[in-house]
């Protein structure tokens, strides 16, 4: 099972539809400071159901929608879709490929999609239950989180162990 395609449109610094085809092995995303690398990571966390503004480095919910540049107007919708190849039947469905999508309108509405059909967040969460995939599972790690994993205080560590048992 692996992430095979990510499509971003109107999310953060992606005003034009952008497609990334991922391979299953080890890949790296490189580029200058501020060019949008961590925004790609935020897009993956977001489509997996991340609800916290802080985890998406935003101050308010609509900070995820493209806010415009000196040459482009701000957009009113952010949309991300992620295709997952289900080759090891980890996901509880007979589809060999699963596509999840999330859309957010500046007016405040959020829509979730599973293989093109509108669903609720609960349905996305139950699809990924016990698979190690999800916005807060230990599959997305940034340098700042290293302190959290190691610190007693927030007991993030317990969460990692509970997810695994």
């Amino acid at each position: 099972m692996y992430l095979s395609k990510l499509e971003i449109f109107g999310f953060k610094s992606f005003p034009a539809k952008t497609v990334i085809d991922f391979s299953s092995g080890v890949s790296a995303i490189v580029g200058p400071n501020g060019s949008g690398k961590s925004n790609i990571v935020d897009a993956i966390r977001w489509v997996l159901g991340e609800q916290g503004d802080k985890a998406l480095r935003s101050e308010k919910r609509d900070d995820v929608v493209f806010s415009g540049t000196s040459k482009r107007k701000p957009l009113s919708v952010a949309e991300v879709s992620l295709t997952i190849v289900n080759n090891k039947n980890v996901l509880p469905t007979e589809y060999s490929e699963v596509q999840i999508a999330r859309r957010f309108f500046r007016s405040g509405e959020t829509e979730y999609y599973l293989n093109g059909t509108k669903v609720r967040l609960k349905d996305i969460r139950s699809l990924f239950m016990n698979t190690g995939i999800g916005p807060d599972a230990y599959s997305v790690i940034e340098l700042k989180m290293i302190e959290t994993i190691l610190s007693h205080v927030k007991n993030e560590r317990r969460k990692m162990f509970e997810e695994a048992s």
Binding site: S24, A28, S35, G68, S70, I141, L143
Partner: protein
């Protein structure tokens, strides 16, 4: 639930000790312990589901210390060892690491990239990095840029 948790904890602990030795050098050791809290009355609870998980690390020749006293690079490597110890018990289909290799010196960077390669049979890795050595060790490289100010585009993909 208790039995399962204790069983998983023991498996992760064994993995952590082994992986820590691989990521650090000969003679470096580490361990995981369940620490039971005292409640207000001083009674020690024996419920593993409530206990804290303590990491102790003993880099080569040093006395066992709490991980707070380790250096920046040692802490990063310890957290990675723990993450992989858990992945051995329950592999995650993918793992995204955003500039986690920044604090590592040249030798540890090599060990880190070799470990990633080893785990990549079960787990897909997507690494964000500024380290040229990490860029050389991956299968596919995606370049991003903001040629038009404020707009991210994917420039080129290089396959090995």
């Amino acid at each position: 639930a208790r039995e399962r948790f204790l069983h998983t904890f023991e498996e992760i602990r064994q993995n952590f000790i082994r992986i820590f030795k691989e990521l650090f050098q000969e003679g470096d050791e580490a361990n995981l312990k369940l620490v039971y809290d005292e409640d207000e009355d001083g009674k020690i609870s024996d419920d593993p589901l409530e206990a804290k998980i303590e990491i102790t690390a003993k880099p080569r020749g040093k006395r066992p210390t709490s991980i707070e006293l380790l250096s920046g690079g040692e802490k990063t490597l310890t957290a990675i060892a723990l993450l992989f110890a858990i992945y051995l018990v329950k592999p995650s289909p993918f793992c995204i690491l955003d500039e986690v290799d920044a604090p590592l010196d040249v030798a540890n960077l090599g060990r880190f990239n070799r470990m990633i390669r080893k785990f990549s049979e079960k787990t897909q890795f997507i690494l964000i990095t500024h380290n040229e050595r990490t860029m050389e060790s991956v299968d596919t490289l995606y370049g991003v840029t903001m040629q038009e100010p404020g707009v991210t585009t994917i420039v080129e993909t290089r396959f090995k």
